[in-house]
Amino acid sequence: MSRPELAAARALAGRHRVKWWEVLPWVAGIAVFFLLPGYLAFGTQLLIVILFALSLDLVMGYAGIVTLGHAAFFGAGAYTVGMLAQHAGWNEPLSGLVAAALVAGAIGLASGYVLLRTQGLTLLMLTLCTMALLEESANMGHAYTGGFDGMPGLQFLPILGLFPFDLLYYRSQYLYVLVVLFVCFVLVRVLVYSPFGQSLTGIRENVLRMHAVGAPVRARLVIVYTISAAIAGVAGALFTHANAYVNLATFGLDRAAGVLIIVILGGYGRLYGAFVGAIAYMVLEHALAKAYPTAWQLGVGLMLIAVALYARNGLIGLGDALRRRVQAWSGR
């Protein structure tokens, strides 16, 4: 093989290996715990959004399923944990996460089986309507879900029986969410570099060809949709655990569109796009909403427009382009 081919083959064969910089996000996550104790409440919310965005990136970035209804699974997980704690006295957090993943995954399986035959605007609207139906059910089922007000003041047992939730300082919540995020991230990372993950990318890039080589396209899509739904359900359950309440805001177009923006902004189909997008969006929103309560959307909107026009593949894509330019310039 010639040298460029060899280099390309080596890059392909080794791309699943862990790179040195992949440690950095987790080091940063732990550093925040020690260095910025005043920001742990915000940090906890940020980590939950990262996990939610990661689940969306799995279906949207890797499998190419564009959905506007992903908050359906976030809300399903959040309400599962909330209703178990409120009505069944099931307050143990870790088994609650499993229950949330199972419920959200089941909804993902059922809806994915029916909806994933369609694509484009139709799929967008179908996922949106599914989410809206769940939201309305939560709104109507007042006796079980608390209706419009949701369920405030939930109680949960200490994590592993050791670390009680501290609603004032958020220390144990933060570490708890960070650990769950890490476990889910490892799972997603293994998944996208597996042959299964590669076939998803194939479906995204050229679905006709994948049909032609005999890949079970629809089954793969339904499976990844189910897995993604389960992870989104875990994110929703973490939301309920960390905040000790659940309400209709866990469903809804705002949350679904927000996470979609975050994934595109960070760069879809890249594991770390969820991290970059969530941090960029939430930090900017947080800072602007504090400084300009009436017009924070101006800054966020301008950023979205600029990224869409000038940075294809999001902020990570922008970083890649800069790096390539620097390399080309220094190589000359």
Partner: protein
């Protein structure tokens, strides 16, 4: 309320939905561009119309014309400068861009005019009720129904009987084939985009009575506009018309009969309709 009044009220709401959504349907059918900012043009138009009336004392009908012209003209600038570079981008980049544009529009209106709801002062001849012989009903709602019906007939004639209409239909059905026959789809798109945004602006002003008018308008009604386009079928004027009337009447009826959870039925209906006919009730399967 008796059935006829409900039907008339629903029809009036449906006409507003139609006037706003029809441009979105055609532009999405032409370019496949996911324009989530369409409701933003309706809102901006509504503000131009309301402010022209309240601040400069322009009468109702000329204010509508000003709204149409202002939004149609400015949307051409938007389209050439901002939309055009994204035609070949993925639909996700288009979603990001148009949501960003909605945010900027919302912030601009909040900063420039204020976050409060705007009210339209109707002229004397549109207030009160009109006797139809069998029922007395609000004059304004009846005027909306007449306007919407006249508009759909005009648009239908324009689509079916004019050269530019034939070009649009050809480009919606098969863009590549139309282009290779010499149709300039880019320019066609600019024209329909401007016209559709102008109509949305008029719809924003006409519908302010029914839908309200405040900075959150584009996001609040986005789902309704998208449902109408998806159910009607992309690029189908008559399809959008019937879908808008269906959704408008049902929504009106359900909100009166079941104030809690009435919208649930709309979502369920959309779900069933789209599973039954993914291309919309009146759309054609694309080849």
């Amino acid at each position: 309320m008796d059935l006829i009044s409900i039907a008339l009220g629903g029809l009036a709401a449906g006409m507003v939905l139609f006037i706003v959504s029809v441009g979105l349907s055609v532009t999405m059918g032409l370019m496949g561009f996911v324009n989530l900012a369409h409701g933003g043009f309706a809102m901006l138009g509504g503000y131009v119309i309301v402010l022209a009336m309240s601040r400069w004392g322009v009468p109702f009908l000329p204010a509508l014309a000003i709204g149409f012209a202002a939004i149609a003209a400015s949307s051409v600038v938007f389209e050439r400068l901002l939309y055009a570079p994204l035609y070949r981008a993925s639909e996700l980049d288009q979603v990001l861009f148009t949501i960003g544009l909605v945010f900027v529009m919302i912030a601009a209106v909040t900063l420039g005019v204020g976050p409060e709801t705007q009210t339209v002062v109707l002229p004397e001849w549109l207030r009160g009720q009109t006797d139809l012989g069998f029922i007395r009903y609000r004059t304004y709602s009846l005027a909306l129904i007449v306007t919407g019906t006249a508009l759909v007939i005009g648009l239908w004639l324009g689509f079916e009987r004019t050269r530019i209409g034939a070009r649009i239909r050809a480009a919606v059905d098969n863009r590549r084939m139309a282009e290779s026959l010499g149709v300039d789809v880019g320019r066609l798109f600019t024209i329909t985009f401007a016209f559709g945004s102008g109509l949305a602006a008029v719809g924003g002003g006409l519908g302010a009575e029914i839908l309200g008018l405040d900075p959150q308008y584009p996001l609040r009604y986005l789902v309704y506009f998208l449902i109408v386009v998806a159910v009607g079928g992309m690029g189908r004027v008559t399809g959008v018309f019937f879908a808008a009337l269906l959704i408008g009447v049902l929504d009106f009826l359900l909100k009166i009969q079941f104030p809690k959870g009435g919208t649930m039925f709309i979502y369920a209906l959309t779900l069933v309709l789209l599973l039954w006919r993914p291309q919309g009730l009146f759309g054609r399967r694309s080849g």
